[in-house]
């Protein structure tokens, strides 16, 4: 038993070492090599919806369809949530609310006002950023678990309000949401890439990839900038950051607004494809799943988060043959993953160091997310 454990640990260390080598190599690679890899990845993403890959990846469902939803959708939502959870260290359990706001923005503006998809995309992003700020303003003074519960409460309030308000369709939701405007006759291979209809999911998938590329570039730039450093400081120790002159509240608001905009953009795109939406599309389970994707992949590390989202979305689809049992297995896999690799599949390096330092001993769970402990002690000492 003991032998086995050490060998597992050794294997893990070697694996970690291999990861470090790749990471160092990547850091030192000249710009043109990196761009080549990025280009290759984008091309790979564009080639992904082919039949040959699909026959292996999802024998039971149409591969291109599930590439848009859930896989692509989850990946983009996870990128958005990662800004909030992974970078700024704010635990948000109601992320689905922003996805819902984006979806409803598309549905309402598209059916009632007859606006064009692209206009709504811009409007939707603005509305979601605004709703992120509205939600953040009162709640972001809270920390850790309390913030998690408040965001969960808000997510449910949005869903139940949508269900109870007949002006926006009540429990039946909204039907007849327009597709994005098509440009016909442009073929690449056998796909008419700008024809947004009902039958072919691939144009939507390409649109999603384009959106993802833009979002990833923006998020990466933010991460490397002053904003990203401020987020990291807040994540590590909010009080220290505040003392050092980081306007923590403002940066937390910014993280919320950016996360919300990304979630909202995905909501707009998703609603434009799916024709009808209803409040049940925005259950708490979706928030939990996206959060699971972020944590499982390794919060704070973009490739890790995308991998996590891919796995979380793809596994249940791949094992559709097991039908109802897939969610059961999904739950068990989440628990097992957290037991064996609590830092996530591809943890960010900086984050890993933080975790090591901040983990508590003696039976308490490490205080990674700053909780109200200090507060509790204050009360106790009175």
């Amino acid at each position: 038993m003991n032998d086995k454990q050490t060998s597992v640990a050794g294997f893990r260390r070697r694996l970690g070492h291999a990861g470090d080598v790749v990471h160092d190599r990547w850091q030192q690679a000249p710009g043109w090599q990196r761009w080549a890899v990025y280009l290759l990845l984008i091309v790979a993403a564009l080639l992904l919806p082919s039949e040959t890959i699909g026959s292996f990846m999802s024998p039971d469902t149409d591969w291109a369809t599930i590439l848009f939803f859930p896989i692509g959708t989850y990946v983009l939502l996870a990128i958005g949530l990662n800004v909030v959870v992974g970078q700024a260290g704010l635990l948000d359990l109601g992320f689905v609310a922003f996805y819902a706001v984006g979806g409803y923005a598309m549905a309402l503006l598209g059916t009632r006002m007859g606006w064009n998809f692209w206009v709504i995309m811009v409007a939707g992003i603005l509305i979601c950023a605004l709703s992120g700020l509205t939600l953040g303003a009162p709640t972001l003074r809270l920390r850790g678990d309390y913030l998690a519960i408040v965001t969960l409460g808000f997510g449910e309030i949005i869903r139940i309000t949508a269900r109870n308000t007949d002006e926006i369709g009540g429990p039946n939701g909204i039907r007849g949401i327009p597709h994005p405007p098509s440009i016909e006759g442009i073929y690449i291979g056998d796909v008419e890439i700008f024809k947004y209809g009902v039958l072919d999911p691939r144009p939507y998938y390409y649109l999603l990839v384009a959106l993802a590329v833009v979002v990833i570039i923006l998020v990466k730039r933010w991460e490397k900038s002053r904003v990203g450093r401020a987020w990291a400081a807040i994540r590590e120790d909010e009080d220290a950051a505040e003392v050092m002159g980081v306007p923590t509240f403002r940066f937390k608001m910014l993280a919320f607004a950016i996360g919300a905009s990304i979630g909202g953009a995905m909501g707009v795109l998703w609603a434009a494809k799916s024709i009808s939406i209803n409040p049940n599309d925005f259950q708490f389970l979706l928030s939990a799943t996206i959060l699971a994707a972020v944590v499982m992949g390794g919060a704070g590390n973009l490739p890790g988060v995308m991998l996590g989202a891919f796995i979380v979305a793809w596994l249940p689809e791949r094992f559709r043959g097991l039908q109802e049992y897939r969610m059961l297995i999904f739950g068990a896999v989440l628990v097992a993953l957290m037991i064996f690799r609590p830092e996530g599949l591809l943890p960010s390096r900086q984050r890993k160091a933080e975790l090591k330092e901040g983990s508590g001993g003696m039976g308490t769970l490490g205080a990674e997310v700053p909780g109200p402990e200090s507060h509790g002690e204050e009360v106790a000492s009175k």
Partner: protein, 322 residues
């Protein structure tokens, strides 16, 4: 509208007290675990759900299908509560052993514990929908359909307040809940186990140095919290006569709201919070309609956290009077 309020004040109060007692019993589990581990036990909602099915098992096995009276009724109710406690406490302890302890040992982040809890929650729901309900309760293909309790008692009017009748089941719920609260209060404040729990909540490191066995304290915390959720499950089933595999989610959030409302980590706070939430929710429903009941309680949660995050009684499992 004001007339409505006057007319429905007493029925709402009685309903609110019954619901509030159930919230309070579930809230105890959240509060105790939070007090000791600083962890929101997200899977506690499923512990409650399993309690309702544990209680359901008793009339199912005994084959009861007509209303009972007298001693037989008391016996069945006690058996249901015991079965609920057993099922829930067992689940809670298993949960701690499988989903939390390995994480605790590794000093993992609380975020990891949260995800583990969410995973366990999904697993338990699906386990009941797919395996337990179809097989144990002999309902093939019906795991996801609401399950009704056979009628075990007549819902007679016991007495009336201001012309509004108070029914037997409502009295049973409130009395049993208050009884359990007193038992728990004695357990935490008057026994050695309770002292261990309080010591750990106050300062885990010092508790270990003083010879407290943290693992057994944590296990006891989950056991007691789970047992209370089991009582809540049995009482819910007796009062509302149906259950399903996803019932835990809503009650879980409500009970957590109650725990925060009263002051998380504070046992008496859970009682105060639960009853307050039950009452406010039902009074609010008179004004806004019962569709908005859940929105009302979530709004309360948000408001409490914003303006008085320590809750009504303040957070303190640590303080001896808790």
């Amino acid at each position: 509208m004001f007339n409505d309020f006057i007319n429905q004040f007493w029925p709402s109060t009685v309903d609110g007290l019954a619901f509030g007692s159930i919230y309070a019993l579930i809230a105890l589990g959240y509060t105790m675990v939070y007090g000791v581990l600083r962890l929101i036990n997200f899977a506690h909602s499923e512990v409650f759900m399993i309690g309702t099915f544990g209680a359901m098992f008793v009339p199912f096995v005994l084959g009861i299908n007509s209303a009972l009276t007298g001693l037989a009724l008391v016996g069945v109710i006690v058996l249901m509560i015991l079965a609920g406690m057993l099922a829930s406490a067992g689940t809670a302890v298993a949960l701690e052993r499988i989903a939390y302890r390995p994480l605790r040992r590794r000093g993992a982040s609380r975020l990891a514990a949260l995800i583990s809890a969410i995973g366990a929650s999904i697993f338990l729901q699906e386990l009941f929908a797919l395996i337990v309900i179809p097989n144990v309760f002999d309902r093939p293909q019906q795991g996801r359909i609401q399950m009704a309790l056979p009628q075990i008692m007549e819902r007679t009017d016991l007495f009336s307040i201001a012309g509004h009748p108070v029914k037997l089941h409502q009295v049973v719920v409130v009395v049993a809940a208050v009884g359990m609260m007193i038992v728990l209060d004695r357990l935490v404040n008057g026994t050695k186990i309770g002292r261990g729990i309080r010591a750990t909540a106050q300062n885990p490191e010092a508790a270990v140095l003083m010879g407290v066995n943290i693992d057994s304290v944590v296990r006891m915390t989950f056991l007691i919290g789970g047992g209370m959720a089991g009582v809540a499950g049995a009482l819910y089933l007796i009062a509302y006569e149906n259950t399903n595999y996803y019932i835990g989610f809503l009650f879980g959030i409500k009970a957590f709201t109650a725990a925060v409302l009263g002051g998380i980590g504070n046992l008496r706070g859970a009682l105060v919070g639960g009853v307050t939430l039950g009452l406010v929710e039902n009074y609010g429903a008179i004004f806004f309609g019962s569709d908005w009941k859940h929105v009302i309680s979530f709004t309360i949660l948000v408001l409490v956290l914003m303006f008085r995050p320590t809750g009504i009684l303040g957070e303190s499992l640590q303080q001896a009077r808790a």
